[in-house]
């Protein structure tokens, strides 16, 4: 069992072996029992049971114990007071209580001794013995002087009933069996009981939830109190402290510890002074200010115009973009000010700006705010460079295959064309009438009029053969001469030369003309200005690739030079005995009289496709298969004076006008470009090149566009031959 003591509102419970119930007063008994009844766990019953219980409790304590308590060195004198008082009060029942030897390690607390009942001693002194021992006796026990206390006469039930009926206060009376007397409970006591029955603290003024005050220092003691004697060190000055003091004194003397705080200087002051002009520039590298962040546009508004908000589909399509291209900010509309949330990337943006500021290399870049028009070179107006062909005037139809080549008669009245459908046709320029057709039966690669007006013959290349056709123009006398010229009695072979195996002059009966049989396909035919010589190029002809034929003597000679690379085309100089051979990479210039190489022009192109010489002879244009056109000024350098990248596809042909300062290029992209190419007599002035016009009109056929272009000899007109089997005439 446990012993409970409640003092000052605290319950102390100890693990004592026995629990003594001393009945000294009936009311005590009742109170105690109700105490048990009210709180199920008596150990935690938070009440101040008041005096009766206290007295009972203090009564239970033996004298010896209280002495022991004395030795334990209690904390407060009040405690001792109470205990002593208890001793005095219950001195008489010491003997009885000795029986209940209790192992006492008690922790007694204080009572406030609030009522006078404390002084009324119980009449009976038998102690805590079963009362039935006195059941048969005439006395109930002994009083303090040792005299027997005789039992009173008990009221019978009728009397008691009557008493209760008579006396309204009878219910207050309780029979105390121990003392054998009737006790009348006071009003206060009844109140106490009532409160206890309700499970409350007996005293109304008691606050069960008062703040807890711990009177003891428990720090690391197993028990709250110690009875160790006061140590000596408490009474002598501390050595350690004196050392510390010395230390501090030294520190103060040394100035390590300062009592007066240093005066705080104002954090901010007028750093730049009053006059802003006093700028002492440090001799340091130029400061490059960081670029300012972009200012927000309409789309960053919290409430942008609706058109700035992308649709859901657009937002979804952003996912397909590369991360760099993806817009970083997607506009969104908030209907009111209060609905704007915190921007989730605020810190991140700021951080990135910081990184940019101290990690990004800065370079001062000139802001180019230039008018794109100013980038264009200063060229004379096109209006001033008129006339030049600009509009399609005529369309010569009749061919059934791609027109591969055209040639204009020197007088400018006729043009000849050779086509893939195996025909050579002659057209009247001004009307578009087809004058004559030769059915050759094989694709006609090239046609070329003889430049002499009095010798109207036409050279046409068909595969490996070159036909020299009589056009039938001119008066009778001329015709007669031509027929004579084109007549070969017997196939003459040059015995002196070994050309016979490679080339033969044959009379073609069908067309009444000369057939020059080459041993490889001919890619270029070019007449000499005097009309007697004819050069042909066979790219696969190796050392005999370039041949020069003489019509009057029916002679053929090969070019006596070694060519580096495959020849593509060849041209005669318009005035002098100079011969140009274009190989795939270079253009070689030979002097035919002196029999030597004059110049090598480096085109810096991938593959040359065509070449044309300016009528003055000092300038040269070269077209290439990568769509570039090079202008060479031979007096200037062996490198191109100008390279124009105009066509996206192969250039098929380039041409100079004989009298006007015009040149043209045509390409597989179905266009022809007209340029103004002015060559000045003054050697100090460079040629002027002005692009003038893009001529369109042909359609692409089989991947080819415009196959050939030729200028009219006198008018600023251009003829173009297209793969779409039409020939067009562009006039100014």
């Amino acid at each position: 069992m446990r012993k409970i003591s409640t003092i000052e509102g605290y319950i102390f419970f100890f693990s004592f072996q026995c629990f003594t119930l001393v009945k000294k007063k009936a009311n005590e008994h009742v109170i105690f029992l109700s105490l048990f009844r009210a709180g199920d766990s008596p150990f935690f019953f938070p009440c101040r049971c008041g005096l009766p219980l206290v007295s009972f409790l203090s009564g239970t304590m033996s004298h010896q114990e209280s002495q022991k308590l004395d030795n334990v060195n209690p904390l407060e004198t009040r405690v001792e007071d109470v205990i002593e008082r208890g001793d005095n009060d219950f001195l008489d029942d010491n003997h009885d209580q000795d029986e209940h030897s209790e192992s006492s390690q008690s922790h007694q607390a204080v009572d406030e001794s609030d009522s006078s009942e404390d002084e009324v001693a119980p009449r009976n002194t038998i102690g805590d013995v079963p009362l039935e021992w006195y059941k048969d006796e005439k006395h109930i026990g002994y009083d303090i002087a040792g005299r027997k206390i005789t039992k009173k006469e008990r009221q019978d039930k009728l009397d008691s009933f009557l008493a209760s009926a008579d006396d309204s206060k009878n219910w207050r009376k309780i029979y105390d069996e121990y003392n054998d007397e009737e006790v009348e409970l006071t009003k206060e006591e009844i109140k106490h009981i009532r409160r206890l029955l309700k499970g409350k603290a007996p005293h109304a003024e008691f606050d069960p939830y008062a703040p807890y005050v711990d009177w003891f220092k428990w720090d690391d003691a197993k028990h709250p109190l110690s009875n160790a004697p006061e140590p000596k060190r408490r009474f002598i000055p501390s050595k350690w402290e004196s050392k510390k003091v010395v230390e501090y004194v030294r520190a103060i003397r040394k100035g390590l510890i300062k009592f007066d705080q240093p005066k705080e200087e104002p954090r901010f002051y007028c750093l730049w002074g009053d006059d802003s002009s006093s700028a002492d520039r440090t001799k340091h590298l130029a400061y490059i200010p960081p670029p300012k962040p972009k200012l927000p546009g309409h789309e960053e508004s919290y409430n942008p115009s609706l058109e700035y908000i992308p649709t859901q589909e657009e937002i979804n399509s952003y996912q397909l973009m590369y991360e760099e291209d993806r817009p970083k900010f997607i506009p969104k509309k908030f209907t009111s000010f209060r609905s704007i949330p915190a921007y989730e990337n605020a810190i991140k943006d700021s951080f990135e700006r910081c990184l940019d500021l101290y990690l990004c290399p800065r370079v001062r870049k000139k802001r180019i705010n230039i008018d794109p028009e100013s980038l264009k070179p200063k060229l004379p107006s096109r209006k001033d460079l008129r006339p030049y062909p600009s509009t399609c005037y005529l369309d010569y139809r009749g061919h059934e295959g791609a027109v591969l080549s055209i040639s204009v008669e020197p007088s400018g009245q006729w043009i000849a064309s050779g086509s893939k459908d195996g025909t050579v046709r002659i057209w009247e320029v001004e009307t578009g009438r087809c004058l004559r057709v030769w059915e050759i039966g094989e694709a006609v690669q090239l046609v070329a009029w003889n430049p002499l007006p009095e010798l109207p013959v036409l050279a046409a290349s068909v595969g490996a053969d070159v036909l020299i056709l009589n056009t039938g123009f001119g008066n009778e006398e001329e015709q007669k001469r031509i027929k004579e010229l084109l007549h070969i009695g017997t196939p003459t072979t040059d015995d002196s030369d070994d050309m016979s195996s490679f080339l033969s002059w044959i009379q073609d009966e069908k067309y009444d003309c000369i057939r020059l049989r080459h041993y490889r396909t001919v890619s270029s035919i070019e007449w000499h200005r005097k009309g007697d010589y004819l050069s042909t190029v066979m790219p696969a002809g190796e050392s005999r690739a370039v041949l020069i034929h003489q019509l009057s003597k029916r002679l053929t000679q090969r070019l006596p030079f070694k060519l580096h690379g495959l020849p593509v085309s060849s041209v005669f100089h318009p005035t002098r005995s100079i011969f140009f051979v274009a190989t795939k990479k270079n253009v070689r210039v030979y002097d035919l009289l002196k029999q030597k190489l004059i110049k090598k022009l480096e085109t810096q192109l991938r593959e040359v496709s065509s070449i044309a010489v300016h009528p003055a002879g000092d300038n040269l244009i070269v077209g290439s298969k990568e769509g570039k056109l090079c202008w060479f000024d031979m007096d200037l350098s062996s490198k191109p004076y100008k390279t124009l990248k105009c066509h996206p596809k192969d250039i098929t042909k380039v041409a100079f006008h004989r009298s006007y300062p015009l040149f043209a290029s045509c390409s597989d992209d179905c266009t022809a470009y007209i340029f103004h190419g002015m060559v000045y007599a003054d050697l100090n002035q460079n040629p002027l090149i002005v692009p003038l016009e893009i001529l369109r009109g042909h359609t692409s056929y089989d991947g080819r566009g415009v196959m050939d272009c030729k200028f009219h000899p006198r008018q600023p007109w251009l003829f173009t031959a297209g793969a779409d089997s039409s020939i067009k005439l562009y006039c100014h």
């Binding site: 009111s336 000010f337 989730e344 700006r353």
Partner: protein, 599 residues
């Protein structure tokens, strides 16, 4: 064996880029500091990597100019950093030895550094500092909104300091009417002020709980912040000094406690200290005596600063002087925008921003809460800013508008009609004042209407005769006037152009004559010219291609880039137009649906 590519005979000095630029690790080696200290030094000294023409060490290095490195090397800050590093080691050692006393002592005397000379060095003149003020202001405003986090070493003290600096700056701008533009974006509120001819733009985040992310190195940001705080402090000092106000300002503690710092600052400016004395006494009765003493002390200081006999005389003097000398036209315009307007802010409205903005444009403002200059029940209030779906109690004497109205008025520089901004309505789109619509190629509808209103306001500067009973009519009138004005302006412009053309022709002819070219049939040439003027447009477009052939490769690339940029811009505008068409079409069809449903 061949020589290595960049062989340099021994004893020969490096030249060119190799001598002028060093990589980062080389720089660290030269300076003998840790990478983090180097970073700090770079941030404080404003040293940034540079792009050498030839990268000697390779493409993947960052290069610093050797002069920059030397600039750091000769700075006392470097020595200070070393000292601090050594000192930290001492403290660490003391702590490791459990010598708390020593550690405490050492901590109390830790060396510190100041950035004043660094700032002076970086910005030799005040204008230079103002020029670079965008980033500092943005950063400080951001940090003023951040919570203090121990884990990230963001101290409460710094946050408070940031807030204070912001308010001081805003108070100055507001007081001197230097604010020009304000734009409420999703990212925050952009402000643009013009101080000493420098346009300073900064972003203040919305007053919301900020989102903290993990992928941010706060050390870097805090180093920047340290510099920015110092810079802004000095700039503020200079600005306050320029208007003869003492810095740092001493604020009314009560208003400070009520988080009405800006108002407190403006009060400080006003130095209308009679009111200041009265109010704190009323409020101070409930406060503990100590606090009252403190505030009294502060007030005493405040009074001390001011000339004794006339309250605020100094301020007036300053204001007068400044108004005579400095104020340009825009400032004057800004000053009178909200003149005679008494604006009251409801509880839910972003108070700080509006308290800054409205006084900057000459308005008087109050708010709901303690310390406000006037209460909601004041009869003289002309506008009340409200941001709630419905307004319960309505005073008929004032207009209830959404906060956007204030910002739109500011950007348009006129008082806009309030009905589109009334409570519960969807306000018209809020447009950015930073966009040049003409250059952009697309003008939003609302920008057009604002322009018309502006034109109307300009033509009729004096307020319309105060019928005032029908606002709608008024605004329509204004619109109509705007239209008329516009058409007139257009006509005038056309006339002017014609005149210019004629003049030009005349000049050309004169020139021709001078050159000796006989001017053959002038009249004809005139005619042809006038005809040709329409023609070339068509011709030139076709001519573009040929002339491009003659450009050099570089120029061609540039030209292409320009063209591409133009194309992109065009596409953007096209997209906007298309979206708008779609929206309008959708709206129309919706209306039709409704009508159909109704009928």
């Amino acid at each position: 064996m061949g020589k290595p590519k960049h062989y340099r005979p021994p004893g020969k000095k490096k030249e060119g880029n190799a001598a002028r630029y060093v990589t980062r690790s080389q720089a660290i080696k030269i300076l003998q500091v840790s990478l983090s200290d180097f970073r700090k030094l770079c941030i404080h000294k404003g040293v940034f990597p540079r792009e050498p023409k030839k990268k000697v060490k390779g493409n993947h290095h960052t290069y610093y100019h050797l002069k920059d490195v030397m600039y750091i090397l000769h700075d006392p800050l470097l020595e200070k950093f070393r000292e601090i590093r050594a000192y930290q080691r001492k403290i660490k050692k003391a702590k490791a030895k459990k010598n708390d006393e020593l550690a405490k002592l050492l901590l109390s005397r830790a060396p510190s550094y100041r950035l004043d000379m660094v700032i002076r060095d970086r910005y030799p003149t005040f204008i230079d500092a103002l020029r670079d003020l965008d980033d500092p202001l943005t950063m400080v405003h951001l940090f003023a909104m951040l919570p203090a986090i121990d884990r990230l070493k963001i101290e409460v003290k710094r946050i408070h300091n940031c807030r204070r600096l912001c308010h001081e700056w805003q108070a100055y701008i507001s007081r001197t009417h230097k604010l020009r533009k304000a734009f409420v974006a999703v990212k925050g509120i952009y402000y643009q002020a013009e101080v000493d001819g420098q346009k300073i733009t900064w972003l203040a985040p919305h007053a919301r709980q900020q989102v903290l992310t993990d992928d941010v190195d706060f050390n870097v940001m805090l180093t920047f912040l340290e510099f920015y705080e110092a810079l802004l402090g000095f700039v503020n000092f200079q600005l306050y000094h320029s208007i003869n106000v003492k810095y740092p300002p001493i604020l009314d503690p009560r208003l400070e406690a009520l988080a009405a710092d800006l108002y407190a600052l403006s009060r400080y400016f006003d130095a209308n200290h009679r009111a200041v004395i009265q109010e704190p006494r009323v409020a101070g009765s409930s406060r503990s005596e100590q606090e009252q003493e403190e505030s009294d002390l502060r007030l005493a200081q405040l009074q001390h600063q001011l000339p004794a006999n006339e309250p605020g005389a100094l301020m007036h003097l300053v204001q007068d002087a400044s108004s005579e000398i400095e104020e340009d036209e825009t400032t004057r315009n800004c000053k009178i925008l909200f003149q005679n307007k008494k604006i009251f802010l409801s509880r839910e409205v972003p108070r700080e921003s509006l308290l800054f903005v409205i006084p900057a444009f000459g308005g008087i403002v109050s708010w709901e809460g303690d310390g406000a200059p006037f209460a909601e029940s004041d009869d003289s209030i002309t506008h009340q800013i409200v941001d709630r779906p419905t307004q319960g109690h309505v005073y008929l004497s004032r207009e209830y508008v959404q906060p956007q109205w204030v910002y739109d008025c500011i950007n348009a520089r006129i008082i806009l009609p309030t009905e589109p901004y009334m409570v519960g309505r969807d306000p018209p789109p809020h447009l950015s004042p930073f966009v040049d619509d003409e250059a952009e190629g697309y003008v939003p509808d609302y920008a057009k209407t604002i322009r018309q209103l502006q034109a109307a306001a300009k033509s009729d500067i004096q307020p319309l005769p105060g019928t005032g009973n029908d606002e709608l009519d008024n605004s329509q009138n204004m619109l109509a006037e705007g239209f008329i004005n516009r058409t007139e302006a257009m006509e005038a412009a056309e006339k002017k152009q014609e005149m210019m053309l004629l003049e030009k022709q005349y000049h050309n002819e004169l020139k021709m004559e001078l050159q000796g070219v006989s001017s053959i049939n002038k009249l004809n040439s005139e005619d042809t010219k006038s005809k040709e003027q329409s023609l070339p447009d068509v011709e030139e477009q076709s001519a573009e291609d040929p002339s491009r052939l003659m450009m050099s490769r570089k120029k061609r690339g540039l030209y292409k880039a320009i063209e591409m940029g133009k194309q992109q811009k065009k596409e953007r505008v096209e997209k906007l137009k298309e979206r708008k068409r779609n929206i309008e079409a959708a709206q129309k069809s919706e209306k039709k649906h409704r009508k159909a449903q109704v009928s």
